[in-house]
């Protein structure tokens, strides 16, 4: 059954394109005020999942609830609480921003009296106030993306779905769009798909990773950061001791030489020898000049997760 606290709920959703299985038993849930990052390599099924949530595609099997309403049984009621920005913003280039947003308010059945304020609010939130009279086709990519987002939030939906909202933008525009998403989170639940990992760290509360149509990770950002915890130290010592001496430090599992006077110490996750090392180095005068905890980058975690799950790689897919 649909859970009242979850604004978006997908249960055991399958989607086939012919014989290709694009989504395989995917369940997603997003709570109120939560930003979910949907991650995955290209072709993993992110966009398919988003199209299903937005009602653009019907799932082959499974159920979707938006705001507690079954999307397949009552599509119109469910879609009223939904804003969707596809990977390519659905813009009519020959219309001006104002005309376009006006049409969107009508499509979303906003009463005529409230249309003007809805447009003004959406424009203000997305920084479009200055360009209202300009033709969409003449706007830069970043502004077009903002119009796309304005379109998705104009009817103040409970759920906003953004498919790769920052793709193709320059770093400055990306930062602006991320700031906008952070601002939106206070009033909307957001699903965001991306393959830009820092973006996930910057704006999401929770992460689900899809790989080859299957959900391989569902974790909070804190949980993801735990996975990225340090398990090695990079140590620079001017007067290097022997490998044996380093290995005897408590917690150290292995030592490898990186250069003439720097070493990488691998240690057991539960025991970080950094403090002990600094003490020893001072006492025995090793000349410690560098001590860097090495963190796994999100990229590495991502690659690990999407590669290590053996169930999704059958022979056919690997070949």
């Amino acid at each position: 059954m649909s859970d009242a606290t979850n604004l978006i709920q997908l249960e055991h959703v399958y989607r086939y394109y012919g014989h290709t299985c694009a989504l395989n038993d995917v369940s997603i849930s997003v709570g109120k005020g939560e930003v979910l990052g949907l991650l995955g390599p290209n072709g993993a099924g992110k966009s398919t999942a988003m199209q299903i949530i937005s009602g653009n595609l019907a799932p082959s099997a499974g159920q979707v609830w938006i705001n507690g309403i079954d999307l397949l049984d009552q599509p119109i009621a469910a879609k009223a609480g939904l804003g969707y920005l596809p990977d390519q913003p659905p813009l009519y280039r020959e219309l001006s921003v104002d005309e376009y947003l006006q049409y969107c308010t009508r499509l979303n059945r906003i009463p005529a009296r409230q249309q003007r304020t809805a447009i003004a609010t959406a424009k203000e939130r997305c920084g479009l106030t200055e360009v209202g009279r300009r033709l969409i086709g003449n706007l830069s990519k970043g502004y077009q993306q903002r119009v796309g987002i304005a379109q998705a939030i104009i009817h103040a939906p409970a759920v906003v779905i953004l498919d790769e909202p920052t793709v193709g933008l320059d770093p400055l525009q990306m930062r602006e769009i991320r700031a906008l998403i952070r601002e939106l989170r206070s009033e909307h639940s957001i699903i965001l798909s991306t393959h830009i990992l820092p973006e996930v760290q910057a704006v999401c509360d929770r992460v689900q990773i899809i790989s080859a149509g299957k959900l391989v990770l569902n974790d909070s950002i804190e949980g993801l950061q735990l996975r990225m915890r340090a398990s090695s130290l990079l140590v620079g010592l001017r007067r290097s001791p022997s490998i044996g001496e380093l290995q005897q430090l408590p917690g150290v599992e292995a030592v490898e030489a990186v250069g003439d006077d720097s070493w990488r110490l691998h240690y057991r996750p539960e025991y970080n020898p950094a403090e002990q090392l600094a003490l020893e180095a001072a006492r025995r005068d090793w000349g410690l000049y560098e001590l860097i905890p090495e963190r796994m980058s999100l990229e590495q975690v991502f690659v690990d997760i999407t590669r290590s799950d053996p169930t999704e790689h059958d022979e056919g897919a690997a070949a």
Partner: protein, 251 residues
């Protein structure tokens, strides 16, 4: 909601030069036909004056004019219906409609009515031409109305086919060519059905989109002709809705 979509379609159509050029070309070509009609009538006039129960200007000018208009529409309709759905699909703007709280029926009917409204403007402009004859003569308004109704129904049927073909493809050009093909096919389908004596086969004759039009042009208001067009339009609209719905299911 249907009206909102229809108004949007109509508006967008006038934002593109295509709609304006269709209107302009239509005015030039049909004005020329109209002048030819008047010219012929002038040449025939001395003989007509001596005939009893001679055909009037409605038979000799208005009916041929609207008959020629149908040929123009055969070319013009596919050009304007081709992009209705296929271009939205290609530009991925269709998802705006699909994720909005709007049903497929509303989308298809909205688009159909939007283009129909445009062509009704065009038909009205054609219809204005014969009215200029009132300055020097009288026209048979019953016949004139039946003929205008015929053009309107014929045009709407063309558009229904165009909408359906546009739902089938991503390429507007393919939609245009196939719409034109189907319309021309229905135009000439009764040619094959004619036997030696010139009698038409019942089925092919009934299917022919032009035959029902010709009787309306003659001023014969036969409800079976009107029903034919309404059925024709309904069929293609329902097919379009089904096709658009199927889009979500399989690709």
């Amino acid at each position: 909601m249907i009206w909102q979509i229809a108004a949007h379609e109509l508006r967008r159509m006038f934002l593109s030069p295509l709609a304006w050029s269709v209107l302009a070309v239509e005015q030039i070509i049909l004005a020329y036909f109209f002048l030819i009609g008047i010219d012929n009538y002038m040449a025939l006039q001395p003989r007509l004056a001596m005939m009893q129960g001679a055909p009037g200007i409605t038979d000799l000018i208005v009916a041929p004019l609207l008959g020629d208009a149908s040929i123009f529409l055969l070319f013009a309709v596919p050009m304007l219906t081709m992009r209705l759905i296929s271009e939205e699909r290609r530009g991925q703007t269709l998802s705006l409609l699909l994720s909005a709280p709007v049903s497929m029926t509303e989308i298809v009917l909205g688009k159909f009515l939007g283009v129909t409204a445009f062509f009704m403007i065009l038909v009205a402009m054609i219809g204005l031409m014969p009215l200029s004859l009132l300055s020097g003569g009288t026209i048979d308004f019953g016949m004139y109305a039946a003929a205008l109704l015929g053009v309107a129904l014929l045009t709407a049927s063309f558009i229904a086919v165009g909408v359906f073909m546009s739902t089938l493809t991503v390429q507007p050009a393919i939609a245009a060519v196939s719409t034109f093909g189907i319309l021309l096919g229905l135009w000439i389908i009764d040619w094959a059905g004619a036997d030696r004596s010139g009698e038409y086969s019942g089925l092919f004759g009934y299917l022919s989109i032009l035959r029902h039009y010709q009787s309306l042009l003659k001023g014969v208001f036969n409800s079976s002709d009107v029903i034919y067009y309404l059925l024709f339009i309904a069929t293609f609209i329902v097919l379009s809705i089904r096709r658009l719905d199927a889009d979500r299911l399989q690709r």
